[in-house]
């Protein structure tokens, strides 16, 4: 799914201007990493793409259409084709892993199927396959409050994979993962994107991971796009500028993360 946003701005109800003047577009099949300091607006940007927030200025187009002028049925269908890995997994703690994963496909299932699945999960194999890719298949029938932080985050990723969307958004999908697992998750997300030719946008704090895996990097700073470049063009200087802003100081020399 391709998307483009024009002159986008977004203001939260409390008056915080989270995004301003953002212009951006992506073709189907692209993989993009969004980086930027804490509070710079990464989550807000992804929320707009997933149609969770309506822009207060400018326009969004998903597959060439403005989602906010669609009929509610069309919007629902559109949404079922967009998957988001939330920054904090929005999974009820009393739910079982299998149910949490199956929930990814509720937009595509008829109602009877979702209700029956509550009593007896109808696609155990499919859910297990997704979890297996993230090395967690042995926890399929556990309750989500019995998982560690990183395991729960993987359930969130598995749900988005299970949804099999055309536009896959991931908001810091590896924040609770160890380095090896981080690579595994990102590689799975990239594989998914390549195999199914879908668009992937991931916001990341781990700059090294972003640079290593993603061909296109977007830097966000104070709600504006600081740069939008191929990975190899992202220089140390650019990164320094990107992160210095909020703290009014330069990132330290020799920072291995930004190696």
């Amino acid at each position: 799914m391709d998307f483009s946003v024009q002159q986008l701005s977004f203001q939260h109800t409390n008056g915080v201007q989270a995004l301003k003047n953002i212009t951006l577009s992506a073709k189907a099949g692209e993989c993009i990493a969004v980086i930027g300091a804490s509070g710079s607006g990464k989550t807000s940007l992804l929320s707009i793409l997933v149609t969770a927030l309506k822009p207060t200025g400018g326009s969004v187009a998903l597959n060439g259409k403005n989602p906010w002028s669609l009929s509610s049925g069309e919007l629902k269908r559109l949404r079922s084709r967009i998957g988001l890995v939330h920054q904090a997994p929005p999974i009820p703690s009393r739910q079982r892993v299998i149910t949490a994963i199956l929930a990814g496909r509720l937009g595509q299932w008829p109602l009877w199927k979702s209700i029956v699945s509550l009593i007896y999960p109808l696609d155990i194999a499919g859910a297990r396959a997704c979890l297996e890719r993230l090395d967690l298949s042995d926890r399929l029938f556990e309750r989500c409050d019995c998982l560690s932080g990183g395991q729960l985050q993987r359930v969130g990723v598995a749900r988005a994979l299970y949804q099999a969307p055309d536009l896959l958004l991931a908001d810091e999908p590896i924040s609770a993962m160890d380095p090896v697992l981080s690579d595994l998750i990102i590689s799975e997300l990239m594989n998914e994107a390549k195999e199914r030719k879908i668009t992937l946008v991931a916001s990341l704090h781990a700059v090294d991971v972003a640079l290593r895996w993603f061909p296109r990097i977007i830097g966000v700073r104070n709600g504006e796009i600081a740069f939008d470049l191929p990975a190899e063009k992202v220089t140390q200087d650019l990164l320094k500028q990107l992160y210095s802003s909020e703290m009014g100081m330069l990132p330290m020399q020799n920072h291995p993360t930004i190696a």
Partner: protein, 280 residues
Amino acid sequence: MATTVTRSYLGTLDPAAPYRLLGIVLGLCLLWPLLQLAQFNPLLLLDPNNIRVFGDFLIQFFPPNLQVDFLELVLTATIQTLAMATAGIALALVIAAPLGLIISYSLSISRIGPASYHPFAQSVRWLARFLMLVLRGIPEIVWALLLVRIFGLGPIAGVLAIAITYGGMLAKVYSEILESGNTLPARAILLAGGGRLAAFFYGMLPGCAQELASYTVYRWECAVRASVIMGFVGAGGLGQLMDQSMKMLNGGEVSTILIVFLGLVLLADYISLFIRKQLE
């Protein structure tokens, strides 16, 4: 510097303090006339004469009336009451569940975004709200009189009167329970294209099931105690018996029925505990 933040709180004063102070002052100003209107005077409770009268009256409650024919009456009334309460709540659920789901904001697709205020969704919601308000806002006695005209005196009118008024109340409380809990999971499902019901089952139910169950059982318990409606339509049951005994100031009978009430309430408490354990 963070330019996105236009406000900066450099003072050491809580910016909310003036509003809170205003709120407290306003509250106190409202409270005073209320106390006057209600002739509030706790000292009356300590008046020795009152205490004596009160004590004299309480003594009448002992011993409870344990005559066999009265106990038989109580027993049939209890069974009848339990049956009517269960049936009434079951019907009330049929009314409340759809209404509650319709008006709950946390399951509202059209409010994602902030709000595109879909005119159709909006009007359905208003209609449902209004219906609910009428169902629970019109006093039980009016419903009861209306139903008596259709079904005559007896349990059907009572059960339906309960179903109608409780349906309206349950719907309101259900929707508020759904709004008060953690709404993010349901929202996430709506965002992935899931429908309202799917979002309810997968996003809200795991977190809210216990609270919903708690409240439903409480309502059932209320139905058991619903003396007013049941008495109006001659549906019998414990509540009516209690009303009558109380008006006749038959202390022994009242205390027997009270004991049964207490037992049923404890039963309800246990049922609630049991169901909530199952949902844990």
